[in-house]
Amino acid sequence: MDGVNSRVMSETVPNVASSDVALSVRGLSKSFGRKVVENLDLTINPGEFYALLGPNGAGKTTSLRMIAGLIRPDAGTISVYGRDVLTDPLAAKSIMAWIPDEPLLYDKLSPLEYLEFIAGLWRVEPKLARERANELLETLGLWPHRHERCEGFSRGMKQKTVLAGALIHEPKFLLLDEPLTGLDAASSRLVKDLLLAETQKGAAIILTTHILEVAERLATRIGILSGGTLLAEGDLASLKTQAGLEHGSLEDVFLHLTHSDAHGRPTSPMRNTAA
């Protein structure tokens, strides 16, 4: 399996960080008493939809929070379209949007007021912001509720409001931590279509999810993280091949990889074996 992983990694990870690359992460490590993320390398290209999968406590959210500039890594570099997140965070943040697993909303604001606040933070030109807000509220079915305070919203409505906030400044790179939690089937489809449309416009997306079907259907590439280490990476077909499960599902691949890790069998990182 180590050989398998090393081949996948060597095929997909370029070693340069330039403005042509949406996200370049090198040697990212973070520890909170114990190692949470260890020597993580990631590269995502513009227009790419990248799904980061892993069991609970694998380090997915910590990785995303480090990329978003919320947690300072112990080691490593993070670059978004050539802008260094650690040395020039404001420049990097200006083209990024982050959606956490828990909807970040002010309960006492209405969706329109919330969008107004976000647009101000990202310095979106007012006329453009208004047009974009109206469009997003219409698309996400929030228009009838635009003047209602979010305190009475369901989780799904809150999630859609947060998504509207993330998209109002037209980010070139989106970090989504479990964005589909709490959405009904119709809303989930709507959000997926919206995200795909963003990638078609050239935006890059990194998404964490426990719903493997979402990764299977949306992602152009999938990474599997466990114990803070990237175990495998590639498109679905290559992951299946590498795992020796050509006729299996992503779930089979995921369980195969993470199960072996959970039982202590050798799943050393591919870059180590590649080296």
Binding site: L105, Y106, L109, E113, G120, L121, W122, R123, P126, H147
Partner: protein, 482 residues
């Protein structure tokens, strides 16, 4: 020790959660020393006061009247918080849902929560009253220690009444209207008490004497109306009767109102309040500071109970109004105009501290601004500006009225207001006062230490300005004693 999932077991669990989220457990290590110093300072003041009371005893009837006024005043203060807390117990989501969804009878869960509300509304007053009680005990007046059981007893009754009111109101109006009604009732009681305190300025001395005399217990001892006051003064029978009365009231409300309500509602999620619509014209702004300021002002003025809280704090304006109306007479102070500036400075400090604390409590998603391409200080500066703006907005009218009569007071007013706002806004941002509704088992954003330090800062600035503007700062004191 307690069999699960019985009432004592559940109560122990809730008390443990409350303790772990209390200021003593949450306080950062470097704040412990100031907490101990302030606590010791308060206890010293309590001992001094205790000595004065022990050395100059007043009549039993007057003591009873003072104790009764204390009871009524505390009732008003506790009631407002109890109303909000009761609504949160019913509508607050999270662990309430979890417990109500468990096989534990919902009525039992609600009973424990009601007790929790009683504990949380009693705690600050028990700490404050305990300081005086301890001081009295030092000088052999052991009845002073009755503040501990009596304040809890009163809180038990207040919590029961608040629950009863909330459950009844919720049958007819929305949770928001219920909360507003509770605040209004508490406000009316509080303002009523304040007006009684101002009576000496309006009512002739003889008639006022008659009024106070009519409130005294009289030869029959005042009957049931003074039972709590007697308990507070350490009469064992009255103490036992007060506790029994409060317990009976608590159990009655629980059995006839709260328990059926809990059994019917089952979970908070089932009765989620509807979102309220607000008029908004969608003014998009290109400046992060302006957008943050607009957001903060909205959050500020939508804080539950904001009007009540502002009115309570603005009671300082009553003496200002009395001075301006020429109703203020105190030896050695002339027309009293010099006193208006320290009063306004004190009010500015208190309002500023309150507003910045509200914003600190409302900032539930600091990560959002941290992911935005703005300096980390932008949201903080916006919060400071919003708090200062709101304070100055409220102060504008009385300040203009004062300056119209005495324009020379402008420099000290500006210096005092700027100084007190600078100190208290920075203090409140680091150490907000406890404003978040009393939610049992939930962490409050504020600390009592912030409140104590904030009031101290307002007082110090007020005193400095008083010394600067008053022709003879202590003349009124000397004149009163001579």
């Amino acid at each position: 020790m307690f069999a699960a999932p019985g009432f004592p077991w559940l109560l122990r669990h809730e008390l443990r959660v409350l303790w772990r989220s209390s200021i003593l457990m949450r306080t950062h290590r470097h704040v412990i020393l100031p907490v101990i110093i302030v606590g010791a300072l308060f206890q010293t003041i309590g001992i001094v006061l205790g000595r004065q009371i022990a050395a100059h005893p007043i009549g039993q009837d007057e003591m009873l009247l003072a104790a009764n006024i204390n009871i009524v005043f505390l009732f008003a203060l506790m009631f407002s918080r109890a109303i909000s807390a009761s609504i949160d117990v019913i509508y607050g989501r999270g662990d309430a849902d979890f417990l109500l969804a468990s096989p534990i009878p919902p009525g039992r869960v609600l009973a424990v929560r009601m007790l929790g509300v009683a504990c949380s509304i009693a705690a600050p007053w028990v700490l404050l009253g305990g300081v005086l009680g301890n001081g009295l005990a030092v000088y052999g007046q052991f009845w002073g220690l009755c503040v501990y059981p009596m304040f809890f007893t009163e809180a038990l009754l207040v919590a029961a009444l608040a629950f009863a009111l909330v459950v009844i109101l919720l049958r007819f109006v929305s949770p928001q209207s219920t909360r507003r009604t509770g605040h209004t009732l508490a406000l009316i009681t509080g303002v009523g008490i304040f007006i009684i305190g101002q009576l000496p300025r309006f009512v002739p001395k003889a008639e006022l004497g008659q009024f106070w005399f009519s409130l005294l217990p009289g030869p029959n001892g005042g009957g049931l109306a003074f039972i709590f006051a007697r308990g507070l003064l350490g009469q064992p029978g009255a103490l036992a009767a007060s506790v029994a009365f409060a317990l009976a009231g608590f159990c009655t409300v629980w059995f006839f109102l709260a328990k059926p309500f809990a059994d019917g509602v089952i979970t908070a999620a089932a009765s989620r309040p509807r979102g309220r619509a607000d008029a908004q014209n969608g003014k998009f702004r290109v400046s992060p500071f302006a957008a943050s300021l607009a957001k903060d002002l909205r959050l500020l003025f939508r804080f539950p109970g904001i009007v009540t809280q502002i009115i309570y704090r603005s009671l300082t304006l009553v003496p200002v109004a009395l001075i301006l109306a020429g109703h203020f007479h105190m030896g050695g102070m002339g027309n009293g105009m010099a006193a208006t500036v320290p009063l306004l400075v004190f009010l500015a400090g208190q309002l500023g501290l309150f507003f910045i604390s509200v914003l600190a409590g409302c900032e539930t998603i600091p990560e959002l601004a941290l992911t935005a391409p703005v300096p980390a200080s932008t949201p903080q500066r916006a919060a400071l500006a919003a708090s200062a703006y709101a304070t100055i907005f409220i102060l504008a009218a009385p300040a203009i009225a004062v300056l119209a009569r005495a324009p020379g007071l402008l420099p000290p007013l500006i210096i005092g207001t700027a100084g007190v706002l600078f100190c208290n806004l920075l203090l409140g941002q680091k150490m907000p006062i406890p404003l978040v509704r009393a939610q049992f088992g939930k962490t409050s954003t504020g600390t009592v230490l912030g409140l104590i330090l904030g009031v101290s800062v307002s007082s110090v600035w007020s005193f400095i300005i008083w010394v600067a503007v008053a022709p003879h700062p202590l003349a009124w004191l000397i004149s009163n004693h001579s």
